[in-house]
Structures are given as structure tokens and as C-alpha cells.
Symmetry: D3
Subunit: 262 residues, 6 copies
């Protein structure tokens, strides 16, 4: 059995996208925030996302992606060798992704949570591949299949919806808004790295990202937010902490509260 | 202006019911848990709940209610003088409840969140009264109306659904499950205090409460839980804390996680 | 019978709020747009909205409201004499509002569409009053009750949700986004008129309004939008016009479409 | 690059079904209406739909389909060479359909929007193929794959649900009812062309189609309607036009409205 | 205590409407079917429904209502003395209705289940009154209030939605379709009795009722149906009976099934 | 054509799972109840479910499965030769399952109804395979493909959700709760047979199954229940029977009802 603890760093959170830039748009602020909080974070792109109209090719896109990763501060970015535009949920794709999970042992996996009509069908396939890989990562008795990488159980899987509007009508037991105040600028910068994807005439995208962050944030009382849905109900052993998450010092909490009174 | 800080203790959480025993059934475990965690907690019953079939009268019901409050460990139980069976949302009822909020300055108010077909229409009226009183509590320029009790802004309002099944189809931006492991027995005992309401032939109620606690808890990974819905989205500045609320020590967290691996 | 056509101007669209500024926040952009398109528009506030914390009194609030109306360009603003903070659905309130409908004969009435937890209970009552008044407006054989104002049938009633996030989970057969591009600045200015309500420390409200307009607009492809829900399904005898509402000239339409191609 | 403008007529709307008769049942009235309004319309059946119990074979079914197309007045009907009963979302199927989109450059594509339990699994696969083909149609840098057919961006994609009842519980940002008054008879006639599929003992189907058209139409105020759901919110720059789509002449509109008053 | 068993006949099902004709439109077929099956059935109208535009007055409307009751074959029709157009949920209204429930001891109560925008606000109030009266009927210790009518527990309460389209988006744990095949003509005839409400120019209403019955019926496999929602989940101790309700003789069931095979 | 009536017993209900133990957990109580009621019942596992962590291999798992079947009393258990952990919806898998349906001619098929995030992706594939096989079973003109097994039309297909909480947010026209009172112990025993899957440290699973049965049952008034969703609306020609399914003897029914009165 491979000694993964020796060979690979442990990564707290892995975000999976179909193409470089999916993850930045969907949850770039969250990744930057997690990095700020001292967590290790990685991005896995299932494909290199190429070709696209204005990109000279995979090398340029890849260097944009690496630049974006640097802006967010994430520890690692991995591009799998699955085919852009023709991604299909398959045994091979599942195993390829699950191997990365076994190597880097994430506590949380973030991924696509829906079909995206009018946009790439790769997104829907990516969701199915990610769901399966999260499960494959913890299955024993598959040493050969997994090149002797030991099993790893991922504690939590959460989903993003790459559209800008708040999540609704999903078949999920819970949703939450993650406060990305202070990280929105880095999110925008990470998207700006993709100059081949967002040439000046597509600048409106940045206004939309800002609008979405402001609105979704305001749903939970933050200046900027990103929303996720969960595979199990949002739970807490400490209700006061869930309702007033900014502080655990109750004197401070009351002061906070009072200052928000009109 | 009355010096409420001198006259009345500050209460962190107030749970409002229409009749004594509503709050115990809906969220008794949560109240016991909050007490354990060092919060101050009160129950306000809008009416005395009488008459009912097997009760000799309000005095007995009241003493049952006081006994139940003691079992839960709450700091205070107030019975308002509104009429059982004929509760209606009215200006007077709203002010009566809001006065209590101004006196005890809660951070959180918990109340009814829905109509309850086949059961008391008082529940639906109680929800409307509570909604209004939460707002009335923070309105300035009403000194006369409020006997010179100063304004108080309640930071959070959450809802319970008194049915046993999980919350669904509510028009709410968020839901969460509160872990009441370790407090279920006290919840059951508090309900048992109402001997006039739950004579031996109604013992099946205790099995239902246990079943509901087990099932709702399991939705979020707990042995026992109670569920609430919220007036704004569930938000967090610390996603890892929301997803792994049991611990903030990441080494401990990983150990926890590992032990739950098959 | 009173000759309303002689006594009162016909108004195409009437927006009903509980307090001055409700309508501006909920649908100010829509009202400005309707004015631009040559429709006559009125605002009816059920109450004068006073007292509020920083307002010296009803006169100042009223002059702010009149200023806001002027910014939007609406033809008329009426403040009914119903009591702020203690609005209740009642026969008298219904008739009072329906009289205005009979006088001004609107084709469309816009009003509150939901409870607003943590905010004023007047909103929920306003919805019930508006629903009833729309119906009362067209009932015959009530000459005395209505001071001999003739009946008027309102063709369409639509609802706003005063929260900033997109509409979801409402029991309604349809929703739509109204393009308010070009009118957002006037909407913001109309809200700014309420200096007693939005002092500098509440400036964040303007960012939220902008964020919401951007996000809701983007859901239907516009720079800025406001969303409504309807009392019957959205229908069309011209599907192409519904899907490509910007133009009926198909050559122009295709050109439009082509320019939006990547 | 192929000069598609020279080789193929431009088609405004393409409706995609899995089997001949899907499109007639789901949206035959809409297609007839679009033809009446001067749009060019085509039907693409992914398979020939054969074998079925009472059909002597593909030739008869095909001639029924051509007859149905003639009844509806559509400009073109294309039958792709994908296998009935064993349709699967695949790269080849997606490209095959997208080629037709590139040739005929539709502004709108209508297709399946859901699984259809108890009926053919081909429907669910057809939805996935159509989703992907709409995207493939606009992808650059695929000249070889697409036989040098130039890219084409489809402006709008909408969905039908082949069941008779109104659309509900779909994860979609909008729905609308299309008025097919005056086209219902042609819809019924087009279905009647499929004598091999609807022998006399299945005549009840025609009553159901009529019942559904009447009920769905009445939801938006029409004698007969068909309902669709959309991939983005229903939006309008002209709210009065959306609410009163029958006329843009306001004098006429008011007359219309008045005549509908009791 | 009054001996209700001696004074009043027991009624199996009571349908409650706000105005004469509500019940006929909402569930006339169901009432006729119940009568056919040997159940006793009554209608309670909370008001006399007058005035309306073309009615000479309450006497004519009442005689229409009595005629309609005769067509349906129901055992009793009661018109309460509550005010049309100004119905409000009140203690007196609740008690008035509950007295009738105590007299006639129904097993099932059917009533309004929703607000009805653009139509009478009496419907929404009727729902609240009916909900409360169902509860009041079983409350002990109210002898004076109830003129010594003994308590009666109503086993089941179900709701209708007076709109023609299928029920959706209701906060209810269950819905079902009642087969009214063979009773649709009587339903239509009962509505036709209201000549003051449905003069010839409103004949389209009959097409809508037929369309709705056909479509709703087809959702469960019947020629005609009416739909209801329930206050508790639809349950069965005999799943085969629920799924194949037409027969309990399995040989017959299989024969039935076989004949429906293509 | 094979004479299936001679070669294979007719089976009333077939429950399909991906792995041995799926069906026991999802609907074991229902299967035991159906057996008690005299129906013939079979279980089809699409795969042998192996390997799993603590199982010595397929033989042991298979014998556990056979033991569980015996506990439930079902007539037959079939394990198809499809690959665990790598199940995909494919033509071959569909035909393999449909052949069993043709052989055993079920009236009802029960199967997976959803994706199961964090658990096996085989479940989602199983749903698609089962949907297709139900359809394939009744298709004519496939004699070769089906080894001359004659067509069989399955009358009803219903779905289970393998999670413990009540069904919500599914795109389905109906749901119902099946009373499994008296069969819960056998359900638990059947799960206990899988000692390789539920070693002592996983004993909490039994508490969850009991909690879920109690809660779901209580939603419809039973001590224990299992819930399903349906492919068409729940319908009934006998509403009283649906609402009071325990008895058809009305005298008895009233007695029953009366005894449940407080």
C-alpha cells in the first residue's frame, strides 16, 4: 500500500470543476476565504477546457488557470486528462478522480450540483462523476484498481449551482450562504486571469458576479456571499452559534447586536 | 423610561406557544440544551390552555406547566392572559407579547410557523401575533403604548412546526436541525408533566416524539434532533465550522472523521 | 352615479404599499419604466408610515413621498388614512382602497405578495386588503357603500415580494422579470428621497438594491430587473414575441441574436 | 466552410422528439400556430419510432409522420438514424443532431424536459441529447467534426412535458402557456394521422388532448393552450404587453377589457 | 345535553362553501358519487351569496341552490346567516358552523383550501372558519356556548382548490384524485341550476369544468375526476388496493389489467 | 413463444434493488405485509453487492440475502449478474431485468427513485435501468432479443427513497404511506441477516429504521409505515375507502372513529 501521508500533502477542501474557470466562478470567494482561514485547498479540473473561441490553445489556458490558482492562494491545481466537450460519466473517469481524492484525503469536496441548460453538458456529467468518485474513494478491496492508494472517506460533499441566481428547487436537504466578505476582489481577479475566456466585451460578467455576491450575501446578512447546497441537513450542536456565528463571546455578541439596532 | 436592565433579567431565548405543552412538544429538547450551554431561557404561553377534557382547571394545568419548566431548567415561564380557543391576532395581543420581549430582551424568539389543520386554530393566530410582537418590540415612539418599556431589537426569529414530520414545503429561506442528544429524556419528562393532557391511553405520543427525534436527528448525523426554519438564509463566515460543527480543533476533527470511517 | 370619467383621470397601473417607500423599494424601477412608456401610474400608500425613528413627523415623510413620486414621474400619489403599525384587514379598509380603484380605473394593480417575517406585520395585512379591494372594485349593487362610484373591473393583479432575493416557493402560477434597464438610477433616487428612513449609516441599502436589480435582471438577460408573480399563468398568443420580446422585426431580431453570439 | 445560407433554408423553430408523434402530442398546436404567424418550422425525430405493435413497419410510420407534418404545415421533417428503444446520450447522437441545428440555424429549439416513468426511456435520453446538441451547435474549432458546417448559436431553448397535466415541480426558472386557440383541430388531426399508433380503441386519447388544451389554456385565459418551461426567467421590457398581450393599442385594450367585465 | 341522534340525522360527508355554487363547482361530482354509493351528504353555504349582478335577490338564489342540491341528490343543504362579501373569521362564525357539525356528526368535512386571488376574499376567510369549526366541534366543556349540543370528532378534513387546474404548490402532506366518472353530467347540471350566475354568455364555464374533469381524471386513469388535498398523508393498510382500487378480486384485477395492455 | 405461465410462477410484486439489503432497508416491511396478505412477492438484486469491507465474499452475502428473503417470506430472490460498484444503465442491463419481468409477470414493480449523494452511484443507475425495463417488458416485436419470452405489461411502478426521512421535493404526482404495523420486527430481522454489512458497531441503524417507521407511520395514523411515490396521481373510485381504509363496514367505521375520539 502506498504511504500517501508521506507522498502527498493532506488537503482540507477540494473543489471540482469540468473546465478551468468553473470553480472560480462558482466558489472562488469560498476558496480564498478557506485559504485565509488556514485550510489547505485544491482545485481539480476534469478537463483542460480547450478548445475555446479565443484561446490559442491548452497551454495558454493552463497558464491562466495556474495564475488564477495563485490569486486565490490555493495549494494545488490538478488538470485531469478527460476530454473537454465530450465528458461522460464512466468507470474510468470516476476512478481517475477518486485516485486524486485518495492521494489528497480531503475533508470536504465541492462540485457541480445540476444540469446547466444552454451551457455545457460536461457540467451534468461532472456532477455524476464527482458523486461516484466521492463514493469510490472510500471503497475497500480495490487495491489493484486504485494502484494501492489506500481508501479515504470524505466527510462532507457540497454542491454549487454555477448560475448566478440563488439556489432554488433543488432536491437537497439543506442550503447555506458562505460569507466571502473580503474575498470578493480576489474572486474577481481570479476570473480576470482567464483573458482568453473573458475578453473586454464580456466585462459584464464581472458586474454579474458582484451583483450575485451582494444579493446572496444579503440573504444571510453579509456584504458578499456564495451559496451551496448540502447532501444532508444543516445541523448544529450549538444553535446560538449557528444563529450568531460571528462570535462565541456573548458579551461581544450582544454588543454586536445592539450596534445593529436602528 | 423604565430601567429594564435593573427590573428584569436578560433572557437569551424566548419560546412562544399558544398553550402550555406546545413548546415542550415542539422544542423542549432545544430549550434543555440551551440551558445546559449556559443560556438563559424563558417560555411564554399566550393562553392558559384551559379548559381541556381531563383537566380539573387552570390551576392544575398551570402547576403542570411550572413542573415542566423546572424539568427543562428554563429560567422563567410566563402565562399571558389571552383567551384559549378564541385567540385572535389583535393589536392588544401583539402589544401584550411585545411588552414581555421588551422586558426580557431576548436575542432569539422561537414560535409557531404554520397553520395546523385538524388541530387548534390558536396556533395560526399565535404565529401572526408572534411575528407582529417581534416587530413591535423594536419600534420607537410608542412610550405610552408600552408603559415606558424601552425598545428592544430581537436579533433572530425562528419557527417550529408542531407536527412530528420533518419540515417541508415552507416558504422559508433556511432550515436547520438542532442536536438534542442528551436532552431527549428531559424533553419527554417535560411532556409527561402534563398528566391532564397525556393520560396513559395517550402514551403512544412518547413513541412518536422519540421516533421524530431519532429521524430528524439522523438527517444531520445526530442521535436526536429538533428542526427549525429561519427568517433568513443560514449563513456562516466559517464553512468548515458549519460542516464540522463538533470541533474547531482540526486535528481532533480529523480524528473524529477517521473514527467514523467504515 | 358619479361620472368618474369626468371627475378622475384614468390610471393604467396602481401600485399599493403599506407605507411610503414600500413601493419604491419593491417596484420603483417598474413604475419609472411604465411612465417612460407613456402609461399613467399612481401609488397608493395605505398608511402615512409614521412614526419612524428619525422622522420629525408625518409632514416630513409625506413631503419625502411626494418628492419620490416626482422622481419616478408617477401621475398621482394617494395616502390613505389607515393606521400605521396597526393595519388590519377589515371591511372599512377594503372599501377605502376599493373606492380609489373605482375612481381611477386601473388596468393593473401591483401589491404585496407575502408575509415579511422580522419586518412589519402591516405588509401581510396590506396583501389581504389589496386582494379584497381588487374584488370589491367590480361588485355591483353596492352603490351606497361606494358613494355611487361605478364598478370597475381590474384586468390583472400582480405581486411583489419586498425582500431582495428572487421569488421562490410562492403558491403562484407564474413569475416574470421586468426589464428596468435605464430606470435603476431613478429607482435609487426615489429611495434616496426618504432621508428620514435611510440616513447615511443605512447606505448599504443602495448597494443591495443595485445587487438585486443586477442579479434579477440577469436571470432574464437584462442589465437590471424587478420580479413579480402573477395570479394566473403567464400566457401569450405569440411565443416568439415572448421569447424575443425586444423586437417584432425578425430581420432585426436575428441581427440582435447574432451580435450576442460569442 | 459550407455556405449554409445557400444550401439550407433558415428555420425559425425546431421541435425535437424521440419518435414520430411525440412532437405532435406535446406541441402540435404551437407548431401550427407558428406556421400561421409566418415562421418557418421544422420537426426532427431522433428515431423512426419503429417497431410498434400495429405498424407494418418504418415506411408506413414515416408516411404517417409526413402526413402529420403536412397537416401542421411545417416546412420540414427530418428523421435521424438513431435507434428506437435503445437511444442513449452519446457523442455521436449529439453531433448528429447538432449538425441539423447548424444547417437550419433555428432561433428556438423545443424538446423533451423530463423523465417519463412508465413510458419510453428514450425520452429522457432525448432530453440529454438535445441539451448537448444545443451547446455543440455553437462551439467553434470543430470544423472536421461538423463537416465544415459553421457554428450557430440558438437563442432560446424551451421544454415540453409530454404528460397531459400542467407542468409542476420542474427545476426551471419560468413557465408559460401558449395560446393555441384556432389550432387545436389541426393538432388533433396531426395526431390522427398516426393510425398505426392510435387505432379506434385508443380514441380516448383525443378527449385527453382536448381536455388538457382547454384546462391549460384556461390557466392563462385562452380557449386552448400548450405549456412550456424555459431555461431562463420569463422576461419582458414591456410589462403591459406581457400582461395584456392581445393588443398594443391601449384604446382597444381597454375596450377588450371592458367587454370581459361581467 | 341535547339528544342529537334523535333530533338530527347523521350525515357522512359535509361540504362547506362560502356561497351557493362554490361546492358544486369544486366537488359536485364527488357529492353525487357519494350519494350513489349510499352515503348521506350535506352542503353548508356560509352565506346566501347575494347580491350578485343578475340575481333578483336571495330568494331566487336560494331556490337555485335547492334545485342544485336536488340534482346532486344530497340529503340536506343549509345556508348560514353570515354576510356575503364581508365574511371574516370570527368566534361567532366558527361557533355557528361548528354547531352544524355537532348536529349532523359528519365523518368527513370538505372545504376551501386556499386564497383565491382576483376572486372573493370570502373564500380565504371560509377556509379559516372551517378549520376552526372542525376543531371546535370536538371541544368539551363548552355546553353553554354550544346550546348543549354534544361534542363530535370529525375523522377527516380534506380541501378543494376552486381553480380548475390541478393542485400544486400547496403545503399539504397528500393529494388524491376522486373518480367521478358517471357523475360529471350531474355536476354540470347542478351548476346549470344557477341561471342567475351562469347566463348563456358564460357558457364557456361548462367547457372548462369538462376539460378539468377530463384532465384531472386522466392523471389517475379515470374518464373524469376531482382532486383534493389532505391534512395528513394518504395512507393504506393494503397497498395493492390503493394501486388497483377498482377491484379486490385478483383474478378480476389481472383480467382488467390485461385488457388495458396495448 | 415460451409458455411462461407454465414455466414460471406469476409474481404480484417485484422489488428491485442494486445490492442485497437495499430492498430490505427501503421496503422490507411492505414486502412482509404483502406476503401476509397472500400476494406473491419477489426481490431482484441487480448485482451481488460484493465486495464490501467485512464480507468474506459473494457466497456469504448471497446466503445472508437468502436468509433475509426467508425472514420476509418472499417467494423468490433473484441476483442478476451485473457488476457491483460499476453498474451503468445500458441496453444489456435493461434487457436482463426486463426478461425477469416477462417471466414473472408482476402487477407492481417497486424500485429506486432518486440519486443518493454520498452513497453508491449504482442506485441512480438502478433507477434508470428499472424505468427502462418496465417499458421494455411490454414491447412487442422483440422476440429474438427476449428469447421468445412474451410481452408483459406492468400495471403500476412505484418508487422508494432509500434515505430514512419522509419523501419530499420529488417530481412525482403522488405519494402514500403503507401501514407496516405488525411487520416492522420482520423488517428489522431481515436487515439483521446481513451480519457482514451491519456488524455490532453499526447497531444504530436499527434505531434509525425504527424511528423512521414510527414517524412515517404517524404521518398517516399508523404505528409504523413505509413511504412510496407513484408515477401517476393517487386515485380512488371510493373516497370514503381512501380516507377510512381500515374498514368498509360503515357501522364498524363509526365505532372505530368514535373510539378514537378524545
Amino acid at each position: 500500500m502506498i504511504d500517501v501521508e508521506k507522498e502527498y500533502p493532506q488537503i482540507d477542501v477540494i473543489a471540482v470543476g469540468a473546465h478551468p474557470d468553473d470553480v472560480e466562478i462558482a466558489c472562488g470567494g469560498t476558496l480564498a476565504k478557506l485559504v485565509d482561514q488556514g485550510h489547505t485547498v485544491a482545485i481539480i479540473d476534469l478537463t483542460d477546457g480547450e478548445p475555446t473561441p479565443h484561446s490559442p490553445g491548452p497551454d495558454v489556458r493552463l497558464s491562466e488557470a495556474m495564475e488564477a490558482a495563485k490569486v486565490l492562494g490555493v495549494n494545488k491545481r490538478i488538470t485531469l486528462d478527460l476530454p473537454n466537450r465530450r465528458l461522460f460519466d464512466s468507470f474510468e473517469a470516476r476512478v481517475m478522480l477518486a485516485k486524486e481524492f485518495r492521494k489528497y484525503r480531503p475533508n470536504v469536496v465541492i462540485g457541480f450540483g445540476n444540469r446547466t441548460p444552454m451551457a455545457s453538458p460536461d457540467h451534468w456529467q461532472a456532477m455524476q462523476i464527482t458523486d461516484a468518485a466521492v463514493f469510490y474513494s472510500r471503497l475497500t478491496k480495490w487495491d489493484e484498481t486504485f494502484d494501492h492508494l489506500p481508501v479515504h472517506t470524505i466527510g462532507r460533499q457540497i454542491y454549487y449551482k454555477i448560475a448566478f441566481e440563488p439556489i432554488q428547487n433543488v432536491d437537497a436537504p439543506g442550503t447555506f450562504v458562505h460569507d466571502i466578505t473580503g474575498c470578493l476582489e480576489r474572486k474577481l481577479d481570479s476570473i480576470r486571469c482567464y483573458q482568453t475566456q473573458f475578453p473586454p466585451k464580456k466585462d459584464y460578467i464581472f458586474e454579474r458576479v458582484k451583483g450575485a455576491a451582494a444579493l446572496i450575501g444579503s440573504m444571510a446578512g453579509y456584504s458578499a456571499g456564495e451559496q451551496f447546497f448540502t447532501t444532508r441537513a444543516v445541523g448544529t450542536p450549538d444553535m446560538m452559534d449557528l444563529l450568531y456565528p460571528e462570535t462565541r463571546d456573548y458579551t461581544e455578541r450582544n454588543a454586536l447586536k445592539r450596534s445593529s439596532v436602528e
